[in-house]
Symmetry: C2
Subunit: 625 residues, 2 copies
């Protein structure tokens, strides 16, 4: 008989029996507790610290945890194997946070009641799922067509009924609803490619109760907005961590994890859980009936969409890097466990290739780059950095593995750009540091834009050399550790040389990608009209500082345009306009993917960019550090 061991998680009110030989990490996952993890349980990142309260365990050695931590009963969940029944505590720092209440892509404290109509959108309003109120003439011996055809005859005034269908269930309800409602009904009509479906039939006029969600499914973060599809207003927005982070910080680690037994299922459930959290939160906040939530649009990178749909993503990471799908017609959201109305539809924004997903298509739509006269760049900085070059005549793009540093992951004091995150740093001549945090509260970590600021300031203050090494030693802020020097910003907030190296590699990957793509198209920055900057931190980034560290090119600052979370904005346009949704499919078909990994120039450019701001100083002539 296999020995079973009980693991109790303090504070979670959860316990589980596991087989001997399984780790605490695995026990936590099995009962739905998501721990931080960048390395996907390899014992490298040190993010999944737990504290043993009772029982005996075996702990595997790792450099990622200090002997002091071990002395105090801490260990890494992924390397801790219970020998007896145990009780463990999960420190806050190891937890993946629940829904965050702040909305990071807008400075405004609340973006409730934002009017979509006031946003720039070229598409006419016609939501992907419509509610249409009909008053039907009553049947008579003269006008005696069947109930369904009577409904369709009236409906034909609003949509093309030549290709409409009705589910068996709705056809079963039809006759009674018509007669109970005295022939006054509201139809919920969904659209698939060129066909329509009657999703629901309600008595009386309910056409003003039609709501949807636009989602950006990021590798690190899930953002959702609740939209009133009748008034075209954004009622509210929420953001949460993607709980898949427990299985690794980047898409490759997750694709590897998907191959484990239950791996795909777990990753699938993790992302659905995040989506449902946001939906639940917003519909309860705005007192919306779940049955009136008729659709959602999701933009995400290709791997995220595979995991969302529970489609095996394995072949994405094996040459020749083939996704199973980049688009699927709308499906019932319930089919994959998304908690909106049972007849509600899930629309996926079409992706371009394995490494240019629907988030980028959505960004192309939202930025408007696809209708520009002259070539422009779209740079989306997330866990990957995607670059699109093009205009109304062509669109080509590439993806650089930037790593999650700019999203506040994989760096010692990193955090998302939420309340308490350091977003601005000023270092004066005397090395005094002035900080600005989001919501001006006590700092608790550093977000992506904060790191850019910090490193630029450290470079200017000569705390850092151009290689990214801390060049002062005799300072109370500088401390030597086993793995190098670290610089203290605040109590419990530090930046290490490893962090700086991490960010250097991220910025080099993105900068090199921009250059390689331009060269591939035989263009240079002079011929570029606009550079759209998208991404979670897009609104906060300080251009000057970003150029100082060599993330962005040293060109006319007026060419830069911040467009925020363009993936989410595109998804929002798509849900409100079926023409916009169709446009995303066209864009996805039209755009070309350029593979960096097989391009020899890229590696050279990358290596040359592993310097602040760059090995080739001529390229950053206005930067003087």
């Amino acid at each position: 008989m296999i020995e079973r061991i009980k693991v109790t998680f303090l504070g979670y009110n959860k316990e589980i029996y596991i087989e001997k030989g399984k780790s605490i990490m695995s026990a936590a996952l099995s009962c739905g507790i998501h721990l931080n993890s960048v390395c996907a349980g390899e014992g490298i990142c040190g993010k999944c610290k737990i504290k043993l309260r009772r029982g005996e365990v075996d702990i595997q050695n790792s450099d990622a945890i200090s002997t002091q931590d071990l002395k105090y009963g801490f260990s890494l969940a992924c390397l801790t194997y219970p020998r007896t029944n145990v009780v463990v505590e999960i420190p806050k720092s190891s937890r993946i946070e629940p829904v965050l209440r702040q909305e990071i892509y807008s400075k405004a404290k609340t973006i409730k009641q934002v009017d979509f109509k006031s946003q720039k959108c070229d598409f006419s309003y016609l939501p992907v799922v419509k509610k249409i109120y009909l008053e039907l003439p009553k049947p008579s011996l003269i006008d005696n067509i069947n109930d369904l055809d009577r409904v369709l005859r009236e409906l034909s005034k609003y949509v093309d009924i030549n290709n409409i269908k009705i589910s068996l269930n709705n056809s079963r309800n039809l006759s009674n609803v018509l007669r109970k409602s005295d022939w006054k009904i509201t139809l919920t009509i969904g659209e698939y490619n060129e066909t329509y479906e009657i999703l629901n039939i309600e008595q009386a006029d309910t056409s003003s109760s039609n709501f949807g969600f636009a989602f950006d499914i990021g590798t690190t973060t899930i953002s959702g907005e609740l939209i009133d599809l009748k008034t075209q207003k954004v009622l509210g927005a929420k953001l949460t961590y993607n709980k898949q982070a427990s299985f690794g910080a980047d898409v490759i680690t997750r694709i590897v994890h998907a191959k484990n037994a239950q791996g795909l299922e777990r990753l699938h459930k993790a992302v659905i859980e995040g989506i449902n959290e946001i939906i639940e939160n917003l519909i309860s906040e705005f007192n919306i009936d779940i049955n009136d939530v008729t659709c959602l649009t999701c933009a995400g990178n290709t791997t995220m969409i595979h995991l969302l749909m529970r489609i095996d993503p394995s072949f994405i990471r094996r040459e020749p890097y083939i996704p199973a799908i980049t688009f699927l017609s709308a499906i019932k959201a319930h089919e994959i466990g998304i908690q909106i109305s049972t007849h509600g539809l899930l629309y996926i924004i079409a992706g371009i290739s394995s490494y240019l997903g629907g988030d980028i298509t959505s960004g192309i739509l939202a930025s408007g780059i696809y209708k520009e006269q002259n070539p422009c760049l779209l740079i989306d900085i997330g866990t990957n950095g995607e670059i699109i070059l093009g205009n109304k005549e062509f669109l080509i793009g590439c993806a650089a593995s930037a790593g999650p540093a700019f999203e506040g992951s994989g760096v010692t004091s990193g955090m998302k750009a939420t309340r308490g995150a350091i977003e601005k740093v000023k270092i004066d001549k005397n090395l005094n540091i002035t900080l600005q945090t989001i919501d001006n509260v006590k700092p608790i970590g550093i977000c992506g834009s904060g790191y850019i600021n910090l490193i630029a300031e450290m470079l200017k203050a000569k705390i850092l050399d151009k290689n990214g090494k801390i060049s002062i030693v005799k300072n109370k802020r500088v401390k030597k550790t086993k793995v190098g020097l670290e610089f203290k910003i605040e109590k419990n907030i530090v930046i290490t040389e490893a962090d700086i190296d991490n960010i250097k590699r991220s910025k080099a990957a993105i900068y090199a990608a921009i250059i390689t793509l331009l060269e591939h198209m035989q263009l240079n920055f002079d011929s570029i009209d606009k550079i759209f900057i998208a991404g979670g931190f897009g609104n906060y980034i300080d251009i000057e500082q970003a150029i100082t560290i060599g993330l962005l090119p040293d060109i006319d600052r007026n060419k830069f345009i911040f467009i925020g979370n363009s993936s989410l904005n595109g998804a929002k346009q798509a849900i409100l306009s079926n023409t916009a949704f169709k446009k995303t499919r066209e864009i996805a078909k039209q755009a070309t993917y350029f593979e960096l990994s097989t391009d020899s120039k890229y590696m050279n450019e990358y290596t040359a960019a592993l310097f602040f701001p760059h090995t080739d100083k001529k390229r950053f002539q206005t930067i003087n550090i």
Copy 2:
């Protein structure tokens, strides 16, 4: 506590506990035993006789059972209420037969391997569900589109892929099947209106294993044919009683029954059971894998289609006689419990109105009346008699309640036209009777065409007067009963005056409908080119005899064309050709329904036709009886 009583059915190996106060009929239904019943348990038809073997019962009085029968322990199941636990026997005559092995619509003993191609069909071959074998180029860094688009790119050579969808499940399997099969796959493609769906993906070339069923869902009888969709051959055919007969002989009684608790569900299950029996029988006989049965087409009257789909048919029988639907797009057959492949589709042939169903549309297709130059008639004689008048320019139709007599129901010795049924009768001057039965075996009953023959012969032999009364008394074959005279044909086979009256009313209803429809269109028989005769007994009917009794008009015999079960034949054309299937929708939209019940002429015509052959002798000048 409610008292529970055990009812055991001898020979069925079934027992059930029922509440006190429930009838034996209700007990039988609850355990899936279907008893004959024309009156739907009203104690009128006398078809549901059972024999009490053990226990005590209360029996309600009824004229429908003789005192002699009662003496021998027989009673009507619908009027018998157990007082104690009982054991009952169901005589063969009370059972609804299981699948019949004979195929009634063709004289040939077997119609296996009938070649569809050799039948007259104007539509090009393209089954509604296709299997298409594809050999795909393997992906490379150059040709790196996603798996689904790779499949669609190749598929576009065969079908329009602009409006194709794939289920989530198939998209989940896609990548692995492609790689396991070395990029050689067979797709099963279903068609809905103008859109396609990838129903299944198989490894290697399985395109030669594609089978379907064409069904005619009659009120009394269900007929099905197994069709090889690749070779276009009919492999076999079966026929069974519609088990809904337990709930009444005609559509009106069934619509009434559907209003009872569980009524709709029971009627639905009864028809599905019949369909599944035929499918099971044929696929086991021809050793076909159920997963290779990808579709079925069903033609049936509008009520039958409502019950098939479990849609409430109530409003069909209330003025202004509105069906919920006359057409629905294809659905997964499994959704309603039909046992073909789980991805297999059910296609419904579109109906015209409440009383002109898809069986008639199908008949219009099969007869070709819709493309005739000159006006023609199509007469379909089933439980209802439907008449279509038209050509390539117009189609108008009506329905007459003929009753089930011509289908061998509701008449004392009636039976379906199967083995042992009397189909031809000859009565000589000395009143000697010569019989011919189907398969030349011992006679066990009389089928519809047999009744026409018999009555015509009795008229000619002056056994019957023109009113339908038996006019000889002193004959050993004639017996007087409580309800009138009866004439003995064979041991246990009789025809009663009530039977003759029944048939007289049936033929009058049909003849009057023909005349009324012609007059409505200001036409007469001279302008009619052809009269297509359809229906289960269509192939056997003796024209001369049918004219003799006044069922068919007394016109040039060469104008009559027998087309057999045209409902089934249309369904067969539709399954083999999507153009034919689409044509049925067009026909259904184009045809007009003419309501007889509100037409005063019809009642006059009906009354005038309640005579053999007719009150107006001038109309039947060649008939001399």
